[in-house]
Amino acid sequence: MKKRIRIMLALVLMLTLVVTACGNSTPATTEGQSESTEGSQTEEKVLVIALEPDYFTFDPGYAYELYAPMIIGVTYDTLYEITPDSDFPAPQLASECVVSEDGLSYTFTINPNAVFASGNDVTSADVKFSFDRAKNLQSNASALLIDGEGNGIVDIETPDEDTVVIHLSKPDSSFISKTTSTSYAVLDSAIVIANGGISDITAPGKDTAQDYLNNQSAGSGPYIMESFSADDKLVLVKNKNYWGEMPDYDRIIIQDMPDANSQLISVQKGDIDIAFNLSADQIASVSSSSDVNVISGPTMTMGFLLMHNDPAIGQQVSDPYVQKAIRYALDYEGIHSIIGEGTVMPVSFIQSGFLGALDPVDVKTFRDLEKAKAFLAQSPYPDGFTIDFPVSNLAPEGIPLTLIAEKVKSDLQEIGININIVPRDWGGGYGDEYRDGTLGFTVMYWGPDYYDPNNQLAFLPGQFVGHRAGWTADLNPELAAMHEQIIRETDEAKRAELLGQVQMLTAENSPFIVYAQYPKYIVASKDVLNVEYSNVYRMDLTQLKKAD
């Protein structure tokens, strides 16, 4: 018995030692870090960003998540990039691009100075390997290289080391814009092949490079991914071999911090430099504080109501007069005050800021209850009706969709439409039903996959988002035909005009009501300069500078 007690005691003692040892080691490293962040210029410049991340892979062939471009955008280069100064793509790895007369082949010349972090030259073979791999993997990311109907890149030629010729199956006016997205990141083919990368059609299933690329980068960008541990943090360090202009920070730590309130407290205490996931109500208390800056900017995230056109699914809201009545009954000004300052309401599903976008709607005067009631009186339900309104548990830019739904309910009550909010789980069925187009009346949001208005044409009748609202091509053939016309139009001025027409035509007659384009709020320490929201990268980390 005594022996057992002694063994127990020894165990307890060992445990205590282990615990104290661990306890000691952690503060030691953090102290070391904070020492290196302060002080003279020769010391390492460290930036800490708090984020509620959605990413889990950094393989450009797979990554599709909202925050993945923030990492892939700085660890890899693309042929073209979106710079903060202009909405039109500028060359990055490519030094120039020549488009053939028929709009089917793009000849890119690669910048001869470009080198990967490993020291290897960036050659046309790397571009071909990367694009072929991304296309053949058949992942979500592949959709930007070849769509579900097989339209996109058909062939890539490499006449010499610095020239790539890309052949498309049909003209695509947004192709250059697409090359700025992470799916088009150029990988160091030597490293990726050595780690199981395959670019031919056997890639799905056989390619095993994803594991490698999830933990380190193999690109030519200004940063290298040093480590990634899910639910903890991701560390980027400066690429010593970077061929372009060196970024300011030596090390960027992206800390997982899903709770917005802790982000806010940490940034005010100075534990982190940038808090990324805050909503308007949360920053209301911060604006007056002097240690931090509040930066806001428009996003391309838009929220919309969907009213299914098929009477079997949409029931009462499939009626065009009901749709118009709802459009004029909503209090957009009130909705915008929930979302926060800087919210705008685009005329239709082409966000403000894109090529050809019309001026946003004036929400102060748009609501017109008399007009709404008049439209409702023309419908088969002049006295209103009751309908289910499923809502998912998602919260675009930190604003729960249920909150919007509660507002919609109270607005529609004023014209006699009573909606029953049905809370649903995105993963537990709602998401599938939304994609299959079996939801009658709901509220959802959308963010473009690449920075080009052509992306928004998915809402047109006959296209895949249009289908979700039962908007088939035969319901509006004229509008449906404009899709093809815009995709083929390589003249930017004409494309802008066509896009303008689409907005005019869909402003009042569509099963979608785009109630808002959400703003983004970032709270940053005053030590960090050039903090700005980017619609492509969420934040362009290379622009950030430490104040002296």
Binding site: A260, N261, L264, S279, D281, Q282, A284, S285, D331, E333, G334, S337, I338, N393, G398, P400, T402, L403, A405, E406, K407, K409, S410, N420, I421, V422, P423, R424, D425, G428
Partner: protein
């Protein structure tokens, strides 16, 4: 009743508990008269206002008056607690009573099944039920009942087993009484005390549990005022402390009140614990 009044005077906790619960029940009954505003009325101009003379508990993100929502929300929470406990106690007692009285293999099978339900973590089980059936008030109540009844079954069974061994049950049987007569005249009156103690102790727990589920989004759908859901709303706006504090305090007070009453009744009915006043 006399004992009750005596306890009210002498047992401080019981007195406090009864006062709190009676107050809440009165608030729930007269909620419509007491609420200064319509709990569903949105007023965007007044959103996120801190407590003031106009809105004693402040307003939420849609400009609704939190005081009114807490008052009207009491109806849902209290009735959810009472309904759950009543239904669960009835089902559980009948089930446990049959198992205990019949005994043998039947008892074994019945009680193993009850224990199987009991073995699941209650919250997880309720969440699974809520998610599978979809969030609605009825499904949430159903989930609560499914989780709650086995406890009553177990208590009832053990009480019945101990009572049926008594001599007076034996003599009643010897006199030729039917099973039904024995159950209703001899056993039931002697078991009811245990169930009532358990039920009163449980009301607070069930209200708390109901609020937990509605906090997780499994209660009645918005915009109905519900304490748990209101706390969850306030989570996003931590700096506007009033949004989650007041419904949170409401949950806390009623849970504590119900527990005090439960303790008091246990002291009253349980002869082993009864103190001489």
């Amino acid at each position: 009743m006399k004992k009750f009044m005596k306890m009210y005077r002498t047992n401080l906790f019981f007195a406090v508990g009864t006062t709190i619960c009676m107050t809440w029940i009165l608030i729930a009954i007269f909620a419509n008269f007491l609420a200064p505003y319509d709990p569903l009325l949105q007023n965007m101009a007044e959103k996120l206002k801190p407590p003031s003379g106009q809105h004693w508990f402040g307003t939420d993100r849609l400009g609704r008056d939190i005081l009114s929502r807490v008052i009207v929300g009491s109806r849902l929470s209290i009735s959810a607690g009472l309904i759950t406990v009543t239904v669960a106690a009835t089902i559980g007692s009948i089930y446990g009573g049959i198992a205990g009285y019949v005994g043998g293999v039947t008892d074994n099978i019945m009680m193993r099944f009850a224990e199987m339900v009991l073995a699941f973590p209650a919250l997880i089980l309720a969440m699974v039920i809520g998610v599978v059936l979809g969030p609605s008030l009825y499904n949430t109540l159903l989930a609560l009942v499914i989780v709650a009844w086995p406890t009553y079954a177990r208590v009832m069974r053990s009480v019945v087993i101990s009572i049926k061994e008594n001599d007076y049950v034996e003599s009643s049987r010897a006199l030729g009484a039917s099973n039904f007569r024995i159950l209703s005249n001899e056993i039931l009156p002697n078991t009811i005390g245990a169930v009532i103690i358990l039920a009163t102790l449980d009301i607070g727990n069930q209200i708390l549990f109901f609020s937990t589920l509605s906090f997780l989004g499994l209660g009645s759908p918005p915009p109905n005022p519900e304490w748990g859901a209101m706390v969850s709303d306030g989570m996003d706006n931590f700096l506007q402390w009033w949004i989650c504090t007041f419904p949170g305090l409401a949950i806390l007070s009623i849970a504590i009140g119900a527990n005090f009453i439960g303790d008091g009744i246990r002291d009253l009915l349980d002869p082993k614990l009864r103190k001489e006043f």
